[in-house]
């Protein structure tokens, strides 16, 4: 694999034979139209995926994509065009479409493209990119996983495992003179076990990853733990009984259940919805939206995390943004356009899936800070309720605030004790209300293992979530009995 031969600095000249002078000329032609701001987003991406199933490597794939996205802003209008062809002609054509929206004052600037800067810090220094690790090593890992899962319990009938790695170079040039590049590695290991016992078929899944080296999965025996968790979940679910329906107290386990914050709170605090007045959180800044036990942050600067980035996809530095402090709503997640229109500071949350998408305010790693209570005491306080350990996906209606998320591993709590596993059920609530019902916060905050992907407007970006053990008084559980 040759991905590491290209860097943001050599990206344009080496790969596409475009010299910085002609690019500067194209950009200044573009800018002589009546627009306020413009940027070019170049991307080169290698993605590799290996899947093992029925004990053999079923599929192996490698995908290379590259292209350029051209954006123009005039007032609150956006023009966006992209092409997979990185040539001057195509960029000029794209610029013409993007500036269809031009109405602002006429100005002309020359953007120096030769002076590419690096992000101030590197959150993911990697010696060997996972895409450069020989396939044989990855196949050996999946083979081991298959054996570990199958030997866990004879009721496990099929094991599906997948290792995906990505190597992404971005280069951003803006009409404000910023030219910045980043190299963003990402990998993820996923294991799904299917267990069967007298016609009852159940599934268990686990996985993890981040912006890490391949060796990460061997440190602290991670791949073995992931596999055992997936296997255990499939076996546990064989015993699952029907979930009760109705309103009850729910205790969330630490880590991945932080998806609650992502759906219930996070999306509603993205600046675009609040500027347009379409979020259930519109106009609630400095108001109480949660119990005083709750402090929620979005932090794109945690080393190696799946949701972390050195710079966002508009070239802005990422940061730690306090969203809710002791129950009070403190801030929104901004991209450039919305920050400018709302006259608020940037937060480094302007993200996009690829060059084929224009940036939107998006989350990075969103989590709740730990409280003081021991997790055992929280469970002990519930007479009848649900203990939710793992979740599938979630979704929110930004405008009325209603959100759902679905359990993939959950148990009944009876008289302060975790008892029988229950079948998957959807939990439904109202964003501006749900955190007011948080009555206990554990001292055991955990971030998820690194598998989250968030969708918005048809764009997927990697994200992280986290939460300590938390008790919510009265949430509607979509059970069947």
């Amino acid at each position: 694999m040759s991905g590491n031969l290209i860097t943001p600095e050599t990206f344009l000249t080496k790969k596409f034979g475009i010299d910085s002078h002609s690019m500067e000329k194209a950009m200044s032609d573009f800018l002589s139209r009546k627009i306020d701001y413009a940027d070019l987003y170049f991307e080169y991406n290698i993605r590799e995926s290996l899947s093992l199933e029925e004990g053999i490597v079923k599929t192996a794939s490698k995908n290379i994509s590259h292209g350029v996205g051209v954006r123009a802003n005039a007032g609150d209008k956006t023009g966006y065009a992209y092409s997979e062809d990185i040539s001057l002609d195509k960029i000029k054509l794209a610029a013409k479409t993007a500036s269809f929206i031009a109405t602002g004052d006429c100005k002309s600037t020359v953007v120096p493209l030769s002076n590419i800067i690096k992000p101030k810090s590197n959150l993911y220094p990697v010696e060997t990119y996972p895409t450069d690790i020989p396939l044989e090593a990855k196949i050996r890992l999946l083979d081991k996983i298959d054996k570990i899962a199958r030997s866990y319990d004879s009721r496990i009938k099929n094991v599906l495992s997948n290792f995906t790695s990505e190597y992404k170079i971005i280069l951003i040039a803006t009409s404000e003179g910023l030219v910045i590049g980043d190299v963003q590695p990402l990998c993820r290991l996923n294991i799904t076990c299917i267990a069967e016992e007298s016609g009852n078929r159940q599934v268990g899944s686990y996985g993890g990853g981040g912006r890490v080296e391949f060796s990460y999965f061997f440190e602290e025996n991670r791949f073995v733990l992931y596999t055992r968790k997936a296997a255990r979940q499939s076996i546990t679910n064989l015993e699952a009984v029907n979930t009760p329906a109705g309103t009850m107290d729910v205790v969330l386990a630490p880590g991945w259940p932080g998806i609650l914050l992502h759906e219930a709170i996070g999306h509603g605090l993205e600046a675009d919805f609040n500027r347009k007045g379409t979020s259930a959180f519109t106009g609630m800044l400095d108001k109480k939206v949660a119990s005083e036990l709750c402090t929620v942050v979005d932090d794109g600067t945690i080393p190696q995390r799946r949701g972390s980035i050195n710079i966002d996809d508009e070239g802005a530095e990422t940061q730690r943004t306090v969203l809710i402090e002791n129950g009070i709503l403190k801030g929104y997640l901004q991209d450039r356009l919305n920050a400018k229109l709302m006259n608020m500071p940037l937060t480094g949350n302007g993200r996009r899936e690829s060059y084929a998408h224009s940036p939107l305010p998006r989350m990075t790693n969103t989590f709740m800070l730990p409280g003081n209570t021991a997790p055992q005491d929280i469970i002990r306080s519930v007479r009848r309720g649900l203990y939710a350990v793992a979740f599938g996906g979630g979704q929110v209606d930004i405008t009325n605030g209603k959100f759902v998320f679905s359990t993939s591993e959950a148990y009944l709590i009876e008289d302060g004790k975790v008892t029988t596993p229950v079948r998957g059920a959807t939990l439904i609530g109202n964003g501006p209300d749900i955190l007011k019902r948080v009555s206990m916060v554990g001292n055991d905050m955990e971030l998820d293992a690194g598998v989250g992907t968030c969708g918005k407007d048809g764009q997927s970006v990697p994200v992280g979530v986290g939460i300590p053990t938390v008790k919510i008084d009265g949430i509607t559980v979509g059970g069947t009995i």
Partner: protein, 447 residues
């Protein structure tokens, strides 16, 4: 490189010289543009061109798939080398390989491309978006805000060639207009949406009607209440019934079946639903949104009866999953260029019944009319189903007040066996379509 069938065949020849025993190439080339307005002014305009080439090579029973958007000769040369070296490391799979030549393509013309496509301008789309949004605002004064009026056009060209001398190309067009209004009452906001998607520009619904329907659906949700936990009959409108059919598709995929990852394993030729239910998958419908002359392995598409009067008569299969199950492909191979094929529906629909939607609602003394489902609470392995719902409460056969923040839950296996009535209001609005349906009893969770 200019994209053509001949170039694809040349590349496959090169790969064979490097030792590949079989292979295929799929090229997806497209252009798309869209205009979004808010309060009648432009919010966002997009324009794009894209192409990707996917290469799948077999070395005996080993295989690999690669893709690239760089179609320069050097890049494609390297792609063949990469694919070969990856494939040699994978495991031999006795069921792998191209479809046998006798299943290959018979040339067939299908109406799926509108020759008028190039003439549809950004200005045309701008006025469609504006008219649709303006109609929503005009319909009801409680419509106070908007996520926008939107229109989009997209044309895609597919080229396919394999080493069994199956090859072909086709072009499709698609146009969409949609509106997402926001209505307010007593400080509470609701949003809903309506749209029209067609392969022919001239067949798009009138933008004013789209806007009015969007507004109607939005204001209908104002003042929604939560209800008590109970069991009741549930009527799904065509949009939400289509979502249930989509869930069924996942469990019908040959891949889910052979992996043991579906509640429909072993159910072929058995009763899975009521006699009111007949389901087809038809890739050959003229102007159908899921229509195509051949699938992603070059197999001519067809009309398959999937469920006949409640009996499961076919899974959705490509050649690999068919071989695994000792069956024959149904022409449902679908793939993005960089991935191996999967089995996916073409135009998948529940055949209409005899009842109008109001006749169905009239049969419900006390129950739920579902207009929106949210979340991913469906497990195709077990059929367990639990999702968030918005809708309207039915009392004595009439729609009454809106409801929200409730869930419906059950098991899809049981729900299929409880489809009591099927409406006569089938409209091919998307790939997966259903008329209104009534399920006799579902658990609703609320207070």
């Amino acid at each position: 490189m200019d994209i053509s069938i001949e170039k694809a065949q040349e590349l496959l020849e090169k790969a064979k010289k490097k030792g590949a025993t079989e292979g295929d190439i799929i090229i997806v080339e497209g252009k798309s543009s869209s205009v979004q307005v808010r309060f009648s002014t432009i919010d966002k305009i997009t324009d794009s061109n894209y192409k990707t080439l996917g290469l799948r090579l077999f070395f005996g029973k080993r295989s690999a798939v690669t893709s690239t958007s760089d179609l320069s000769p050097e890049s494609l040369e390297k792609l063949i080398a990469d694919t070969s070296s990856i494939a040699r490391l994978t495991s031999p799979d006795d069921f792998g390989g191209l479809p046998l030549p006798q299943y290959g393509m018979k040339s067939k013309e299908l109406d799926i491309y509108d020759e008028y496509f190039p003439q549809v301008s950004l200005e045309d789309m701008l006025s469609l978006s504006r008219e649709a949004e303006a109609a929503a605002f005009k319909y009801d004064k409680r419509v106070t805000n908007s996520e926008g009026g939107y229109s989009n056009k997209r044309a895609t060209r597919i080229i396919y060639a394999n080493t069994n001398n199956s090859y072909g190309t086709y072009e499709t067009s698609i146009f969409t207009v949609s509106v997402t209004p926001i209505a307010t009452t007593n400080g509470c906001m609701q949003r809903d949406n309506w749209y029209s998607t067609k392969r022919r520009f001239s067949k798009l619904d009138n933008p004013v009607e789209i806007g009015e329907e969007a507004a109607k659906r939005t204001v209908r949700r104002l003042g929604a209440k939560k209800i008590h936990t109970q069991q009741a009959p549930v009527v799904f409108d065509p949009e939400t019934a289509s979502s249930l059919l989509g869930n069924l598709c996942m469990a019908l995929s040959g891949y889910s079946i052979y992996k043991g990852a579906s509640f429909l394993v072993g159910m072929l030729n058995k009763q899975i639903s009521t006699p009111a239910v007949t389901i087809y998958d038809d890739g050959t419908m003229p102007w159908g949104i899921g229509s195509k002359p051949f699938d992603a392995e070059g197999i001519t598409t067809r009309k398959t009866t999937v469920v006949e009067r409640g009996i499961l008569t076919s899974y959705l299969l490509d050649s690999y999953s068919a071989r695994k199950l000792n069956l024959t492909t149904t022409g449902n191979a679908s793939r993005s260029p960089g991935d191996p094929p999967v089995a996916a529906p073409t135009n998948f629909y529940l055949s209409p019944g005899n009842y109008s939607p109001s006749e169905i609602i009239k049969t419900v003394e006390s129950g739920l009319y579902v207009t929106e489902l949210i979340g991913f609470g469906y497990n195709p392995v077990t059929g367990d189903y639990s999702r968030g719902v918005s809708g309207v409460w039915i009392e004595n056969g009439e729609l009454t007040y809106p409801v929200e923040e409730i869930t419906i839950a059950g098991n899809l296996k049981d729900m299929l066996l409880q489809i009591e009535m099927v409406g006569n209001d089938l409209d091919f609005r998307q790939k997966i379509c259903s008329p209104t349906i009534k399920i006799s009893r579902i658990t609703i969770a609320g207070h």
